[in-house]
Symmetry: C2
């Protein structure tokens, strides 16, 4: 019978203490410690954010930009620390998606059950 906000804070703490999050933090810190890898990662992220923004605003993405983005991805994947960080991000994403599926179950059941 716990309060929703208490439970959410509890869950936040559990996420923070999870292996998934701790490993992500370690991988992130490692990349950020090295100016070289930090620069590569920042560049990669900025390229991705730019493309996402363009997509959301319905702007056209040129072939050149797609090509550039591909190259940046290939480059960072070859960097051991960054590719490890990306793997950890993927693991945390899975965790967050699982959580979001669990907590939206009541709504899905309500809107699923009575709808035909």
């Amino acid at each position: 019978m716990s309060n929703v906000y208490d439970s959410a804070n509890e869950l936040e703490k559990a996420i923070q203490e999870s292996d998934e999050f701790k490993d992500l933090k370690a991988a992130y810190d490692k990349v950020m410690e090295d100016p070289n890898s930090k620069q590569m990662f920042d560049n990669f992220r900025n390229t991705q954010l730019e493309l996402q923004q363009k997509q959301m605003q319905g702007e056209e993405i040129t072939e050149e930009e797609v090509e550039k983005a591909k190259q940046v991805v290939e480059l960072v994947q070859q960097h051991e620390d960054i590719s490890k960080l990306m793997e950890q991000e993927q693991r945390v994403n899975v965790l967050i998606n699982d959580i979001s599926r669990i907590i939206t179950k009541p709504l899905e059941e309500l809107y699923g059950a009575q709808q035909q």
Copy 2:
């Protein structure tokens, strides 16, 4: 030191037992019990889903469709039970958004703190 999945299930239960969710369920059941209001609500939802899908697929939405959607919204807002249901949906949305802000805090702090 609780497990993430245990905490998520705990939170799911707390949502299900919250006033916000119980009130939503009551409002939803009331609308579904009456064939007339059920039909109106289903029609409203289908119109919204269609437009959302078109938007996501980048299809153009005609002025006629916008007009039709507006009319459907105006119609359902005049229906007391349906407008109550929409209010309750809004309340639950606020709750879910709050929760999602709380549980993504660790990620935001990680990616926010070390980035300049």
